[in-house]
Amino acid sequence: MLAFVTRRLAQSLLVMLLVAFIAFVLFNFIGDPISNMLSSDASPAEREQIRQALGLNDAFYVQFYRFVGNVLRGDLGISYRLGHPVSQLLVERLPATLELVFCAGVLALAVGLPLGVYTGLHRTSWVSQLFLTGSLVGVSLPTFLIGIILILIFSVTLGWLPAFGRGDTVSYAWWSSGFVTASGLKALILPSITLTFWQLAVILRLVRAEMLEVLRTDYIKFARARGLSRRAINFGHALKNTLVPVITITGVQLGSLIAFAIITETVFQWPGMGLLFIEAVRFADVPVLAAYLVLISLFFVVINLIVDLLYFVVDPRLRANRGAVA
């Protein structure tokens, strides 16, 4: 077990270094940082001066080392577009994204899991067919389109819910929360539904497919042959065996909510990290891009690590390292 953990940690570290490297290359070599800071009629001498001052003439690995050091200290450079330190921008925007992702994640699990189980157990009922068709539509609908349709119905036509922004937020230290105000909660509704839609459909289909697969196994057949109650079979055996692989995949899926938040934030002009990232791409704001890359990679690497460990904890077959005893 320990060997497994150390191996995974080492792998994660490797990935992070790789990502840092890509970010570094982006940062320093692509999109000349100098020309973004000086006006275009600066003399070559001035350019050279700045280059020297910023240490851009040092050896490659020295620069990389410095870069990693900076990142670890939280210094992610200054945004080309907005002029503020990137780390400050990220901290400002983080709560918005996290709250949105949290709501969407909870919704996806709370609705997707039970529905998936239901459609798996009652494969042929018309209710199941309805949900299944709905989930197929959900998987085919791009997130941004769902957002637009929701806006059209609930904002433009009915005027019930806001289409832009977070509403009023309350600040606790560096965190600004929209959970505690009425307008904040209202503003959360449409974006959360938009963000969760695709994830919900995917989770539903995943759970259902796994459930159907499990119900076909020999051990379920044997359980029925032993006269176990329907409840024991469906929930004690089938459900548990379904959730074990599913819960781990779901972990990764939910992680991707952060990525999909980019789209949702764009549609609703939600002031989160995703919107920041898109604007950075559009305006070639390399420091922000690089920082976002590093942050997101860290996030995913951590999620994958947790999920892998979870698998280990939950499936007894992976824990055994002794051979079978005859």
Binding site: F222, R226, H237, V244, R317
Partner: protein, 333 residues
Amino acid sequence: MTEPREALLDIRNLRVEFPTRRGTLCAIDDVSLTIGEGEILGVVGESGAGKSLTGSAVIGLLPEPGRIVQGEIHLSGRRIDGLSDEEMRRIRGKEIGAIFQDPLTSLNPLYSIAYQLVETIRTHLDLTAKQARKRALDLLQEVGIPAAEERMDGYPHEFSGGMRQRVVIALALAAHPRLIIADEPTTALDVSIQAQIIAVLKRLCREHHASVMLITHDMGVIAEAADRVAVMYAGRIAETGPVEEVIRRARHPYTYGLMGSIPQLKTPAERLSQIDGAMPRLTEMPDGCAFHPRCPRAVDRCRAQRPPIEVVAAGHDVACWLFESAPKPGARI
């Protein structure tokens, strides 16, 4: 029909069909069997002969979209083939137990052996958790799991194939059913383990006074374990009778062919005899006797008319037009 003692299980004229898009397939065609109390009936035949399906039909677990369209199944005089799912569930485990082929996939990998045993015991018997656990331990010791007490909280993958099958037998017998359907219980095991498992099965069924429907394609297992044997071919019964008699003087050409394929130490032979050809597919059943295309003794009547079940001797039936002229033991066809 022959009934040696008060029949525990009585299958009469069973017909099972599968509606498919190519038409309706008849997988079990007018099959009748009986199993007496404490008796081990072997059901033998090639893959696809319908033996497993017969077992599944009895326990009410026919795979979709199979249906019983005709016939009756009686357990201790009570008719069980038309019961509701809930009523059938109460019978399963308590009155009829089942053992399947692959012990690794028969056990839920995520639960310990003890858990699965206790769960089964408490479903059918009103015991406390502690009592059930004691009961489980007793069962495990009965089937011969060494150091049962220490290992019962282990998981299925921690046991070898033979041990797992013993656990499966313990699970099947947990609620003391009177009939066990054993569907190819040794096929997935090493040859050296097979004999052990058969011995365990025989011993436990004798001790628990349980009858067994032993389904297998291996005549050697039948010869070793069964009291009577029913030979199935293409969904139909070819021959039924006491094991020694059927082996010694098979009345059906197919059975005769099967016996010839058992290697014998005593009789020198250069080659094992085999039956040429293959069992017909359910979609291409011939008219008349299902075996006639492969039968070395087939006559016109065999090709035209399906032979009915005829009584040869007490407890010995056969479905063949030529049973009276079946060769004496030792003769070559």
